[in-house]
């Protein structure tokens, strides 16, 4: 389902990481264009119009954040940021600025390709809007967004309105990380963005109702310090 010859821009200043990305991506059939600085990266993006950007947040000449902000002025192309563990705050900033997802270094190829696929799929859905299906299924959980019903092992589970809204937002962005702020804004409205415990408490309730072992969730995953992700595929 991925356009296998899609062009992926890699903006990263560390040659070993670039090499690893180039090798892994070309094996999967992607075309790869590389840049080592923010300046070259921006030029690359505007000239080549890649299908997806892998962006390191710590570039030598500029903050990766500025690239996101500039690109978002004219394009919705998916941007996945690469960043170290322990820099959660900058990840959240980048995501809130319009990045689609992130990968914490060190990461494995599996994780990388999964993120790329999710991002490309989302981009495709945005471009031909309306095709969105309302029925979803992951593992033993299935449901219908239009009917507002959820089943676990074919047994219907009662969700409150907010719990369902939260689940629906996750389902529509399946596989993609969603920040606390984004979820608060989507589900609770713009005035709740400073109350992150709302999301946490409702997520805990949702897990209790949907997950077989709520303290070791399989689907409703926590991205510590960043937000949540509904495990895709």
């Amino acid at each position: 389902m991925t356009s296998s010859d899609a062009l992926i821009a890699v903006i990263e200043d560390e040659p070993p990481i670039r090499r690893f990305l180039r090798a892994s991506l070309s094996v999967e059939g992607f075309r790869v264009a590389e840049a080592a600085t923010a300046k070259d990266g921006l030029r690359l993006i505007t000239q080549e119009r890649p299908a997806l950007v892998l962006l390191d947040l710590g570039l030598p000449d500029a903050d990766g954040l500025t690239i996101i902000e500039q690109v978002r002025q004219w394009s919705t192309m998916p941007i996945i940021i690469l960043s170290a563990r322990g820099e959660e705050q900058s990840k959240v900033e980048a995501l809130d600025a319009g990045a689609d997802d992130y990968l914490s270094k060190p990461f494995g190829v599996g994780e990388l390709l999964a993120r790329i696929r999710v991002a490309l799929r989302h981009a495709a859905r945005i471009s031909d809007a309306g095709v969105e299906t309302t029925v979803f299924r992951f593992g033993r959980i299935r449901g219908d967004l239009a009917e507002r019903r959820v089943f676990v092992n074919d047994e219907e589970v009662k969700l409150t309105k907010l719990e369902f809204d939260l689940l629906a937002t996750l389902v529509r962005n399946a596989g993609k990380v969603l920040t606390h702020r984004y979820l608060l804004k989507e589900v609770w409205g713009p005035y709740a963005v400073d109350e992150p415990h709302y999301v946490r408490v409702f997520m805990a309730n949702l897990r209790k109702k949907l997950e077989p072992d709520p303290s070791r969730p399989e689907y409703l995953l926590t991205e510590q310090g960043v937000g949540y992700r509904l495990k895709g595929d």
Partner: protein
């Protein structure tokens, strides 16, 4: 006390003469004085000649101020010398020319010439006297040449006045003269001086013209010349002494003498003080000026009190130690103090004034002193009254008439009369009536003091006479024996009142002293207990304000050496720039300034240096609530003591801060080096594994079978993950220990953080049963999720490391009061004895640590640091049935937020 060790005073004197101040302070400038016996002997001329000679040698020399006196030959000598322009100060319409101290300090030449050392500066200049300007020049390392006449020497002031009949107002302390490095005597025979005078070659200030005749008499000049020569000779003698002592410290020194001078409020006291100073100088002895406070002192007028303070100040400025003692009897107190301090000579003044009639029968103070002094020599100096400048602020402090004593007296007498009438009616004799009245008189005396008791005595006599003796109701007495009764009543009344007044006064003095001593004791105790400078300053300011009824502000220097108040004060003197200047000056010069001193006297507050042996640590500013009331010398001394106390406390805190910093630096250094060695080991191991596996894969690509290849690949992956965790731990540790980290605490359910930690450790816990027990009632926890996840990851990592693969793990969360508790338990080998206390220390790897054990020992230390940063605690112990359990508590600090929002249906955007 007669040992041959040098006394501190002598050592100090020597240090000063040698001109080598201890420590790193800059060299003090040298002072050369051109010293003469009268105006016109050629001091300025000689000074300028010396300057010209130095100029020829190429020395950097500036004329700071010279009175040319309009003489052409003197003016000619100024030729070719660099002169600082004089500062023009207008004062009461007149333009006064003054020496520009700041210009000289800014120019900073090698030598500055400043004429007329004893000159009094115009009001508004920094110092009241020019010799203080000179002191400041010397202190900043500039050499000074100056001129002075003998009559300006403070201790010679009254002798000169006596000889010449002219009172010299411009004086300078003997101390300055004694400390001068060189004194050049400029001498001219009196006859020649008189010739020069007649030729108009002697400059005489306008205002002194009337004294000309009186002053420039031949006999006068001869006497002055003798004094000047004698002073110079004394100095030379001293120089010889110093040289001798310096050469051989063991040479016997003159017997140890100590002088005591009695100081009072009498106008003659100043002369006695000066006489004592001269005697002390001659004997090379330390001297003490003592004032004995008695009951009379309480009744001292303001003018007297101020004069007393002036005398004590004079003694202090002449180098005496001043002491105030209080007691009933001057002579016995003096002698007791004298013998306590090993005083060998007492100097006391006598007056020419006729003795007051009621004292005729008693021995005078001097007579008693001479009689009782025993081994101590008594020097009696004839005192001459001299006008002292007394400016009592409008002596309007006459207290409003207090009627209470008189009402009380009337009541007492009324009661006595009623009782007497009753007793008489019963038929008692008159003797009993006398007793009743006597009782009333004694009661009045004890309660209301002298005047009411005298009045009561007289009134009782009258009442007794009128009411109880024949003829009744008339003021006549038939029986002369009653006269004796009357006299006895009067005397008893007076005695009783005197005695009670004395006792009361002494109690007052004792109480006041006790109060101050107690306040000082309290302050020093409190100051020792305080560990923060700002709190200390606040406390000190409060105490000083209370004890001295004044506003007190402490200034401390900032890192640039500029003073600033530590505590914020609203709208007090501490806010004005002029006051800052005064405080800064005090800090830089280690000498008091401001109101009541000779430096910057126009300032609103008095500024005292807070000094310790290591230097000035700050400035104590005190502004009396009643600025017109001068501070008494003992209050002044007490204030100095407070300043010193505060200084030591400030210093103590600074030193302890510094030592803490140093300790911290050492700790950090130790941490860094052990971290390096531990980390390099722990980095090397996984790196070696990765490098080895990778090279094996690369070189033996074809010969490796699939299983081996997978193993190698798995090694690379596992070891990289281990490296990543190690790096994360190091990152957390450095951030935590440098204090750079700020917790991002948020309310969240415990299961979430446990879940994400378990997901990260999925591979490590594979094949184990992991039981998570979370009670239903566990509230939201207030924590930094990233850091607490790191704690859990480390604890899970530890548990897997120290237990058999496949053994179960348990994670429990529970509500405790004020927070939550989490436990990670394993079924491993448990803790060894000694582990519990040390296990959370950095680089501790267990009591049986073997070199090949994996891990830095950093993990638990980080857990502890993170938990403590949350305000919580962590502990490890063995669990029943084998294995270890680590429990940590995260307090919430505040109650969890309500979840009421669940009920309200929010609007969708």
């Amino acid at each position: 006390m007669n040992d041959d060790r040098p006394t501190p005073e002598q050592m100090l004197a020597r240090v000063k003469t040698e001109g080598e101040p201890s420590g790193a302070t800059a060299r003090r400038g040298r002072l050369k004085l051109f010293f003469g016996y009268a105006a016109g002997v050629g001091k300025t001329y000689a000074m300028l000649q010396a300057a010209q000679a130095l100029k020829k040698e190429g020395r950097d020399l500036v004329v700071g101020y010279a009175e040319p006196h309009g003489r052409p030959e003197t003016e000619a000598l100024l030729d070719g010398l660099e002169c600082l322009p004089a500062l023009t100060v207008s004062y009461r319409g007149a333009a006064l020319r003054e020496f520009d101290l700041d210009a000289a300090l800014a120019r900073k030449p090698e030598i500055v010439l400043v004429d007329e050392l004893a000159h009094t500066n115009a009001p508004g200049l920094r110092h009241a006297k020019r010799w203080q300007d000179v002191e400041e020049l010397l202190a900043s390392g500039i050499d000074v040449y100056s001129t002075v006449n003998v009559q300006h020497l403070e201790s010679l002031n009254d002798i000169v006045a006596e000889i010449s009949g002219v009172v010299v107002r411009e004086t300078f302390p003997d101390e300055v003269f004694a400390r001068a490095d060189d004194v050049a005597l400029i001498d001219l025979p009196p006859d020649e001086l008189l010739v020069r005078l007649r030729q108009g070659k002697v400059y005489v200030p306008q205002q002194a013209a009337f004294a000309l005749e009186k002053f420039f008499r031949r006999d006068n000049l001869v006497a002055l010349r003798e004094i000047a020569l004698r002073e110079t000779a004394d100095r030379i003698h001293e120089d010889v002494e110093v040289a001798r002592r310096g050469a051989a410290a063991k040479v016997p020194w003159p017997t140890y003498e100590r002088l005591l001078v009695c100081v009072g409020s009498s106008p003659t006291s100043a002369k006695v003080v000066r006489a004592a100073k001269r005697l002390a100088d001659r004997l090379d002895a330390p001297w003490v000026a003592v004032h004995v406070q008695t009951a009379q002192a309480e009744r001292m007028s303001d003018a007297d009190r101020q004069r007393l303070h002036q005398h004590l100040h004079l003694a202090e400025s002449l180098g005496a130690e001043i002491v105030q003692i209080s007691g009933a009897d001057v002579v016995s107190e003096l002698l007791q103090y004298a013998s306590g301090r090993n005083v060998t000579k007492i100097v006391v003044g006598k007056t020419d004034a006729p003795r007051q009639w009621w004292r005729l029968a008693r021995l005078s103070l001097v007579e008693r002193l001479v009689r009782d002094s025993g081994k101590i020599d008594v020097f009696v100096v004839r005192g001459v009254g001299e006008p002292t400048v007394v400016n009592v602020a409008a002596d309007a402090r006459t207290a409003p008439a207090n009627l209470r004593p008189w009402v009380g007296t009337a009541v007492a007498l009324g009661l006595a009369t009623l009782l007497s009438l009753a007793i008489e009616a019963v038929g008692f004799t008159e003797a009993n009536l006398v007793m009743v009245y006597l009782l009333a008189v004694v009661a009045v005396a004890a309660r209301y003091g002298a005047f009411p008791s005298v009045a009561a005595s007289l009134a009782s006599v009258l009442l007794f006479d009128v009411l109880f003796t024949e003829p009744y109701y008339r003021m006549t007495v038939h029986d002369t024996q009653y006269l004796l009764t009357f006299a006895a009543m009067l005397v008893v009344g007076l005695l009783a009142s005197t005695l009670t007044a004395r006792v009361r006064y002494q109690a007052d003095v004792a109480r006041r002293n006790e109060r101050r001593t107690e306040a000082l004791y309290r302050l020093s105790r409190r100051l020792t207990a305080i560990a923060k400078t700002s709190e200390l300053i606040e406390e000190a300011e409060r105490t000083v304000s209370e004890v001295f009824e004044a506003h007190a502000v402490v200034f401390l220097p900032d890192e640039h050496g500029k003073v600033r108040p530590i505590v914020d004060h609203l709208a007090t003197f501490a806010a004005s720039a002029a006051e800052f200047t005064a405080a800064q000056w005090v800090l830089d010069h280690d000498e008091p300034a401001g109101r009541g001193t000779n430096t910057l006297p126009s300032a609103e507050a008095t500024y005292l240096p807070m000094a310790t042996p290591n230097g000035v640590v700050g400035v104590l500013a005190v502004q009396a609530e009643n600025p017109n009331e001068p501070r008494s010398p003992d209050a002044q001394h007490l204030l100095d003591t407070y300043a010193t106390q505060i200084a030591f406390a400030v210093e103590r805190i600074r030193l302890s801060d510094e030592s803490q910093q140093a300790e911290l630096r050492i700790e950090t250094e130790k941490l860094r080096s052990s971290l390096l060695s531990a980390v390099s080991h722990d980095l090397r191991t996984p790196l070696a594994a990765i490098a080895g596996a990778a090279s094996s894969l690369a070189e033996n690509r074809d010969s490796l079978n699939a299983t081996v290849r997978d193993e190698l690949l798995e090694t690379i992956r596992e070891e990289s993950e281990r490296l990543a965790r190690l790096v994360e731990n190091l990152l957390h540790m450095t951030r935590l220990s440098s204090g750079r980290i700020t917790l991002n605490r948020q309310w969240q359910p415990l299961d979430e953080v446990i879940g994400s930690a378990l997901r990260r450790m999925e591979r490590q816990v594979a094949g184990r049963e992991v039981r998570v027990e979370l009670a239903e009632d566990v509230p939201l926890a207030h924590l930094d999720d990233v850091l607490i996840e790191s704690v859990l990851v480390n604890l899970i990592d530890n548990a897997t490391k120290y237990s058999q693969p496949g053994s179960p793990l348990e994670i429990r969360g529970e509500a405790i009061s004020g927070g939550v508790a989490l436990e990670i338990a394993d079924r491993g080998r448990g803790l060894l004895p000694g582990d519990e206390s040390q296990i959370f220390e950095m680089f501790y790897r267990g009591a049986d640590a073997k070199p090949d054990r994996r891990g830095t020992g950093l993990g638990l230390a980080i857990c502890q640091a993170i938990v403590r940063a949350h305000g919580g605690a962590i502990e490890a112990r063995n669990r029943p049935g084998g294995g270890a359990v680590v429990r940590f508590i995260i307090p919430s600090g505040e109650p969890p937020p309500s979840l009421d929002f669940a009920a309200t249906e929010p609007s969708r955007p």
